[in-house]
Symmetry: D3
Subunit: 321 residues, 6 copies
Amino acid sequence: MKNIPWQDRPDNCNDIIWRYSENPIIDRYHIPSSNSIFNSAVVPFGDGFAGVFRCDNKAVQMNIFSGFSKNGIDWDIDHKPIQMKTGNTDMIKSDYKYDPRVIFIEDRYWITWCNGYHGPTIGIGYTFDFKEFFQCENAFLPFNRNGVLFPKKINGKYAMLSRPSDNGHTPFGDIYISYSPDMKYWGEHRCVMKATPFEDSAWQSTKIGAGPIPILTDQGWLMIYHGVVTTCNGFRYAMGAAILEENSPDQVKYRTQPYLLGPAVSYEQIGDVQNVVFPCAALHNIEEDKLAIYYGAADTVVALSFGHISEIVQFTIENSL
Amino acid sequence: MKNIPWQDRPDNCNDIIWRYSENPIIDRYHIPSSNSIFNSAVVPFGDGFAGVFRCDNKAVQMNIFSGFSKNGIDWDIDHKPIQMKTGNTDMIKSDYKYDPRVIFIEDRYWITWCNGYHGPTIGIGYTFDFKEFFQCENAFLPFNRNGVLFPKKINGKYAMLSRPSDNGHTPFGDIYISYSPDMKYWGEHRCVMKATPFEDSAWQSTKIGAGPIPILTDQGWLMIYHGVVTTCNGFRYAMGAAILEENSPDQVKYRTQPYLLGPAVSYEQIGDVQNVVFPCAALHNIEEDKLAIYYGAADTVVALSFGHISEIVQFTIENSL
Amino acid sequence: MKNIPWQDRPDNCNDIIWRYSENPIIDRYHIPSSNSIFNSAVVPFGDGFAGVFRCDNKAVQMNIFSGFSKNGIDWDIDHKPIQMKTGNTDMIKSDYKYDPRVIFIEDRYWITWCNGYHGPTIGIGYTFDFKEFFQCENAFLPFNRNGVLFPKKINGKYAMLSRPSDNGHTPFGDIYISYSPDMKYWGEHRCVMKATPFEDSAWQSTKIGAGPIPILTDQGWLMIYHGVVTTCNGFRYAMGAAILEENSPDQVKYRTQPYLLGPAVSYEQIGDVQNVVFPCAALHNIEEDKLAIYYGAADTVVALSFGHISEIVQFTIENSL
Amino acid sequence: MKNIPWQDRPDNCNDIIWRYSENPIIDRYHIPSSNSIFNSAVVPFGDGFAGVFRCDNKAVQMNIFSGFSKNGIDWDIDHKPIQMKTGNTDMIKSDYKYDPRVIFIEDRYWITWCNGYHGPTIGIGYTFDFKEFFQCENAFLPFNRNGVLFPKKINGKYAMLSRPSDNGHTPFGDIYISYSPDMKYWGEHRCVMKATPFEDSAWQSTKIGAGPIPILTDQGWLMIYHGVVTTCNGFRYAMGAAILEENSPDQVKYRTQPYLLGPAVSYEQIGDVQNVVFPCAALHNIEEDKLAIYYGAADTVVALSFGHISEIVQFTIENSL
Amino acid sequence: MKNIPWQDRPDNCNDIIWRYSENPIIDRYHIPSSNSIFNSAVVPFGDGFAGVFRCDNKAVQMNIFSGFSKNGIDWDIDHKPIQMKTGNTDMIKSDYKYDPRVIFIEDRYWITWCNGYHGPTIGIGYTFDFKEFFQCENAFLPFNRNGVLFPKKINGKYAMLSRPSDNGHTPFGDIYISYSPDMKYWGEHRCVMKATPFEDSAWQSTKIGAGPIPILTDQGWLMIYHGVVTTCNGFRYAMGAAILEENSPDQVKYRTQPYLLGPAVSYEQIGDVQNVVFPCAALHNIEEDKLAIYYGAADTVVALSFGHISEIVQFTIENSL
Amino acid sequence: MKNIPWQDRPDNCNDIIWRYSENPIIDRYHIPSSNSIFNSAVVPFGDGFAGVFRCDNKAVQMNIFSGFSKNGIDWDIDHKPIQMKTGNTDMIKSDYKYDPRVIFIEDRYWITWCNGYHGPTIGIGYTFDFKEFFQCENAFLPFNRNGVLFPKKINGKYAMLSRPSDNGHTPFGDIYISYSPDMKYWGEHRCVMKATPFEDSAWQSTKIGAGPIPILTDQGWLMIYHGVVTTCNGFRYAMGAAILEENSPDQVKYRTQPYLLGPAVSYEQIGDVQNVVFPCAALHNIEEDKLAIYYGAADTVVALSFGHISEIVQFTIENSL
């Protein structure tokens, strides 16, 4: 457990999740080539933190970059994108890489991302040191996005959430889980949870997708996810939470009917894509009951928000669909 | 006649309609459960004002809430949505309620709203005290929105404006009028006015819909309405005015070619839906020639604007399509 | 009861509904001006039959024409469209008329059709002799199609089925019922039945609409209707049946999961619109347990089919969704 | 090797593939419940043939049925759909089943089909006797169609072609290959071949999908496939061939620029979906150089066509894109 | 003037245009490589006729082929597409060629067609002998189709009708005229006539396009054209006529409200694209008052129809919009 | 050469193009009737500058207005739109005018704009004094936008860039060049450059269009252009540069892979259309190596940016696709 970034809840705030007062923590022009930096992943590493960042360059090409930080807030991001070496396969085509997630399992840091292979699908790679990276077989056929690994094997197998999609700005999307004995072949696909009927919870009625690596709590897996509603002027992305059964994570125990955090401040409402709150990573300290959620804002910058894990779990139980 | 909210026109302003300097008057988080409060209706009531407010909660479920105010600006809104009792029918399904209008006719306050009955249609209810509410039969078959009653019977019958639509973010929409002898059965449907050819007045070329309850002037009924243009990045809602024949309100005498108020300040341009000015209610003082128009801004907050009735009428006549 | 058109079921046929061997009974060029004649209505009249026919002319303008027949099969159709006189209203705009239904109630023959009034809605008219016709107020606001009257008042009021739609080739559509004390004002709108989930009964999963005038049986109202499925090459229209509660016809007692008749012969599969079976009228003889269903085929010609009422009712009960 | 169905090429015919003169071999009403029978698979079995047939019933629900034939032309199809028992998994949801393929590998007959699991994906099952069937895990996440197994392991692994799609009438589609060590977990996904640029070969420019089980020839795997062009009046499906590298079947050696068989006779041009030729199975006799291709016609019936394997291979080489 | 193909009007026929009894005159497989032959042009040549034919090959690549005939009905079509030499420009890209028109002006036969240059536009070429062909500059920027030359200069300039479109199955389209002093530079673009409002003449309400070379009559230019209506199952193409002012052909004097010939027989209703009648050429004999119109049927074959010029002109005047 | 507007690059800025610190230079309400002023053109004139401005009025009708400035920053814009006199043609219809460009060639100032003639096309006019304006024939058939003249004849002919489009918010668009001997007839159309594959340079992957008048440099013509990407919430417009061959300007020598300036400040991100940077004019001083680019921001205001010509050229060469 680390000294994760933290700010106490503001005095006049009753929200379960609150924003960091110095947001955004990473600006769109944080590295020389970037047009925008958002939807990125961080993990504890050494005596600080490491991360994999989505930096779209000024040609608006999407790629992932490694970075390091002492405090989880101030980040050194490499000016060059990650160069992959071959992992469990011959090197395969990768037209683009975006929306990474990172997690340590057993002996190494596993990275998943949206990989451009004749359309978006889930790329898998690993690193031991965030300097040398190895690319493995894609997990699935296209078209897929938001591949998120569980932080440990479940029933002896690796488990991954993902959201099958189409080859455009997909207007639908549900969360599935798949299992693998070896990080190479995947199967036992199950639907975990679906977008909601508009009347029940409109903010998550168009599509949903897993966000940070799920966190094991005494109630089960806490899964922070994004939900999307289609307004007459486009998509609006907000953040919610669900609790999945520990040993059968395709079983949803609870799921927030209200969102936890929605676009309401300028860096979330204005940018390359308006009205986007997109969580991709979280740092947690179970002992101190703290959660720091990193999220992309307006597809332009990286922002940070905080919450108490116990409160989020309690809120999810009490406000479940 | 009341002391309606008022601010004189700013010195350097030549506009027919001007904004309240302390806008928005109701913030998106005005009540604990709300994600947004907008498109709402107010009327004089007792020695102050009462209103019916559209408050979408944080699950983005749409519902209507009652509220009271001494000055028409500072509002106490109930934290629970209106619970309807049966009016002239067995209670019917109501998946959602939004965009209310309110008017006193004869002995009670009639409320209309967009009611979710297998899609949007026009719900009707009444109250005597804004505490107890009674729900009647829907006026029309789906799909319909923006049902607005006239403040008195016309030729012995209730009269209602509405905008037939489809079951989505309707890309068309004209204003019709219908009549009823009893607020239960409706007929004599007539087209009042249609969206304009793009070249004639683009801001109202996609769809139009009635806003506040029409106001009887010596020129006829003053109908404030919204118009929509489709830009390459979505809809843009602005506000105009028309004068309808007093005894044959399906006859349009005058109609503004220019808009009266369009999205141009941040709370109108930024929010859950960008670039929306959507009038739903107005308080008027004929003697003092004052009009206070309440409008939803960016589908997120309630704002207030002012004008002199005589100037609006004159402008409509002089700038008519 | 009349000698309605009839042919016994062919020997090798096990179907509940079978086709007339001399179909189509009315060809597309049956009158000099016509491009197509289809979706038409007939009733017993005098010692024979009268009808109202949809004849699209060679400019493909849609209008309705009266006709007479001794045997219900060979028809004399007027070469000029019906000229309406004013009924219960000033004459209203009618850009086009199509898909008529006819029924005798109390003292006259009532006709409903899809009437072009700023888009499709339900026109109402009446005649005593099929020579002089009177046009009344439209029943509803646009957009609506397939308005079908019940053959007698229900609970003291006229009752009409209809299918709210949009202003194009509507890709959705459910059946509603509305009531009127006077054939002028309509209300008490209720949803009767909806298009089905694709997996349950695909042939009626896109939209549905009432066909002939419902027939009162000892099980309730027998409503023949059309259902539509969207294939990758367009819509396909077939015919089914439902039984509605006699005094509460918004209550569906039974409804066919399989279709009764689908496009399978050349005059149904080929024409101006491929793969259309669209029932609009039926002649019945309760004593002889006979039903003769008239349907438009491929939006081009009029065809005839037969069935035993008791068998249809039984089949509907036994194969209900 | 069997006495597969066969007819010599007609005298005046120069085509590589020709139709059976008695087509269609299975009519839409071949079993009592069926609306249509098409896109079906056959294999040699015992001293005759067995098959798995797509029969849509008159509710237009899609399911698969077993059948047997002595000569491959006259078929006894079970009147009830196949009831699956659990194979390598707990029984999973299957909203519908369609477009089966069948092949004997090692010790049993494997069946793949389009399985409805929250959208279309590839179902897998097996049988030893075409009486008792066992359903396994779906191969992939939705959305996918046209899963076709190779008839033997390649490099020690099962291999399957498939066409990732979306959840509707997908307007795109390329052929991929995936591998599995155990028929349960799949990976090593590779793109095999894509729809063509319109100018190069329009008939296969919208989407393509594998058809019968590939046949090993001395030039490599002969893969018969369907291609689709989008006309202004919908999709048109035709049949082509490709030769894949024997040990690296993601490598395309040759691929027909012209189609081999396109919709040109009435049972292919008229039916529930016009202009469809959709091959799903083939019987071959290498010694006699004969191929009998079964194909769905107009999504309504099953038809048969013939060709000499050597000629097809030669034509593919000489007319390759 | 020639002995153009001719058949008298059948006895029981009252139509202005009637079909050749031996239609289609050119089958889809008329040459070995062809998938379909349609939308083609013919002219008097030598003691017989010559033509330029659209033959799509079995890869469904579109190209134009020359052909000759003694009687205008039996055609020898070259088995290889026309190879162009450079005319008034360096050879330009031509991804495809389709829908040719041909006319003799001054000293040579000019050919126009839809030319694939980064999308469809109007290609121009000429020949003296139908053996050697020369390709000139495209007349216009993309996107355009149905370029049709007038048979002589008007006010000293070449004149061409065309239909600006988009890069797909364009759902709109009006007829324009442009002028050129030299067949290289074009200008003075004027709108000639537009698709009609649906209510006025639905068959030509989606798009229209010029067909054969206009014919000068004593009333002005007789322009045969196609019109398109959008049914729920796709486009339907029919044929009409207009009379243009002789010296100001952007002035429409008369235009048929009804169509002259619509898809109503099997070779027009069934084929690669259903329900298409598409005129591209006409042979006329003014003295004998005969017109022979060649048209593509169902985008599959070439058919022939006949009419008396005086009757067509008279009908157009009497049935004008 | 003039004293064009100028501000040195800010100290901490490394960008090739930088914004004027007092942007926007022209506000949306700069003249009494305007709703927005943007996408406008300026040229040196007399001892100052003249311009043609797109001012949409409050009916959101699009028109062009003349204006004058001493310093190129503070502008007097006429309160009435330009009234055209006849140039080289009878006066033609002009439903609207927008997005003007202006350039002096030989003896006069030529103006091009998007002219509403049955849809958008390229209007041409000229003036000698910016008081009296003459309208000529449209250059092309509809549909077209972004017509930009070269500042001198090329190979003896006028040359114009343009972007063929469709009649709506066109989702595609490439840059073409056309030539004219006389500003009346146009031909020799060539494709210059196309939108890019998404993976190569996403910001210009939907459509592109020429901006200011090209500037001749020692490397060829410097063409500033806009590119558009389609996000899930609409279009985003940014600015890039290309170098065209001096005597064959359809040959692209270099083209920026990264954008030069994208929407990143509030007046570019918020307005009637969010996220628009749209260059329409530039003033240059070759000796001082200065370029001042005028651009419309958010379809609402006019903004100004600066760069050194040599740096832009160098950047384009070094960062070319």
